[in-house]
């Protein structure tokens, strides 16, 4: 029997895609909400553009880029949940016990989630182009490059988040706070120029800030200005990947066996007095 990494990776990608397809609700929600808010907020951002000098982005540019950043940050939870589920379902240990290596397992999980994030971005920008005439001045390739790099960054941050969370509830609450904070701080909801001064100084600490900067470069500034924000997104992605590798391959994923499960307690032999060793 041939045991090729390619067979394993194909099986993992197919399986992860099936898991996403089995539970598409959250991802669909984050697309639909994005479409609605783009439609609703576009006139507001167009009006705000007159208050911010020089105008940072047109109404549709700000609405499309802002909502793409905001809802991909919320979708970060979806990616993280797929990794966390492996722990709550106890399947993580079975993956680790298989011939697949740690990197191979993560790649098998990452590729379909990454694909879903890219598709989400594509739908939001495609809708903005088709309905509101959005046109990236640097070209569609530049916008696509931003979407790919930002999606990879979100994916890796999600993997990092999954190693920090101990339960789905914790991930849900923490993920919402993180997404909203990063969105607000990055200027996706309210342009950075309109934020309080002290918040404006903190804005570059948010990956959302650099994602919006990258999209701004693709939409209005030009490809020459893409380098810095994309590099910063790479740094944030590496932080997430570092967390996933350092914590994920170590103690948080390799929990010692539990002393006794409920099943065990119900199956004690009569007269048996379990002892702790």
């Amino acid at each position: 029997m041939r045991r090729l990494p390619g067979i394993r990776l194909t099986a993992e990608v197919r399986h992860q895609s099936a898991l996403i397809a089995r539970d598409p609700g959250p991802m669909i929600g984050y697309v639909v909400m994005g479409l609605l808010l783009i439609t609703v907020l576009r006139p507001l951002y167009a009006a705000l553009g007159h208050l911010v000098q020089p105008a940072p982005l047109s109404g549709i540019d700000q609405a499309a880029a802002g909502m793409a950043v905001m809802f991909s940050l919320f979708a970060l939870k979806v990616g993280a949940a797929h990794v966390l589920n492996e722990r709550t379902w106890h399947t993580w240990d079975r993956l680790r016990a298989s011939p697949a290596g740690f990197g191979e397992i993560l790649a098998g999980k990452a590729l379909p989630i990454f694909g879903a994030l890219v598709v989400q971005q594509a739908i939001l920008f495609g809708f903005s182009a088709a309905v509101f005439g959005l046109r990236p001045s640097a070209g569609w390739w530049a916008l696509a490059l931003c979407a790919v790099v930002w999606s990879a960054c979100v994916l890796l941050l999600g993997f990092g988040a999954s190693t920090l969370a101990r339960s789905p509830a914790q991930l849900g609450a923490g993920g919402d706070v993180f997404a909203l904070l990063t969105t607000v701080l990055g200027g996706s909801l309210v342009p950075v120029a309109l934020l309080p001064g002290w918040l404006q100084h903190l804005a570059p600490a948010s990956p959302g800030y650099w994602a919006l900067d990258a999209y701004r470069s693709a939409l209005v500034a030009g490809p020459a200005q893409l380098g810095r924000p994309l590099a910063m997104l790479g740094v944030f992605g590496l932080i997430g990947a570092g967390l996933a590798c350092l914590i994920g391959s170590g103690r948080r994923f390799a929990l010692p066996p539990r002393a006794r499960s409920r099943d065990e307690r119900s199956r004690c032999v009569p007269g048996d007095r379990p002892t702790r060793t």
Binding site: M1, R2, R3, L4, I7, R8, T10, A11, E12, R14, H15, A18, L19, R22, D23, W89, H90, T91, D93, R94, L95, R96, A97, S98, P99, A100, A254, P256, P257, R258, A259, R260, S261, D263, E264, R265, S266, R267, C268, V269, G271, D272, P274, T275, R276, T277
Partner: protein, 303 residues
Amino acid sequence: MTGALEAVGLRKRFGATTALAGFDLDVGAGEIVGLVGHNGAGKTTFARAAVGLVTPDNGMLRIEGFDVARHSKRTRPLVGLAPQELALYPTATARQNLHIFAGLYGLRRREAQRRIAQLADDLVLTDILERRVRELSGGQQRRLQAATAMVHRPSVLLLDEPTVGADPITRDALLTVVRSAARQGAAVVYTTHYLPELDALEATVAVADRGQIVARGERASLLAAVPGRAVVEFDCAPPALAVPAGGSVDVCAVDRRLTITAPDPGAMLVPILAAHPDVAAHLQTIELHPPTLDDLYRHLLRT
């Protein structure tokens, strides 16, 4: 018999807790070993060590001659593990669960489909292959979990309490498949608290206690050292019988019943009754209870 699985002097501590304290076990190809012991005796830690999920502090663990710690890439494909807790994808179908584990162990899709069809047939899973795992009963999930461990035809099969919560039909189907795997050459370590299953599997027995194997061998030879019982019922209060002194003989009279506990109570009863011909008229019934694996388990772990 060459050891498909060999563990020598395994030691493992989790903080202040000693999980393995010199754990020795040798399982040959085609052999089924029933691993029994108290909760916390080290059975699960041993199973996890065999698949590389736990690294022993000391000792040697080999799968088909390869050291698990040093050659995990060679040993992992050889082992199938069905852990104690359910470890399946609840939102995926039974078939999808089988496919992912087949793929992880390198089975190509067509080969996997054939193997899944065969296992599903053997484990009575065919009708539920397209249903989501979370919709299945506990017994069906247990069978599916065992199937995921066997889908790649491992040469070492570790089943950690695979029949917990299973109904008799589920249990029978599973035991049949385990016997079949052993006949095809797999070394099977079958952890259970339900000892009659080991009789059904005709397994040799290893008893674990406090991280060590305290007894290991054929069931018959292990049972020979365990007292059985003879219960004699009279139509009046039991007479005082002259019971041979010494050894591990215990006589207990309650109401009209006399219970003799001894290594071979039947053989002991004959000369006793022959020496008291007057009591024969009062005899109602004699029941002989040879020692069972349950008795062995209690006998070994009582001290």
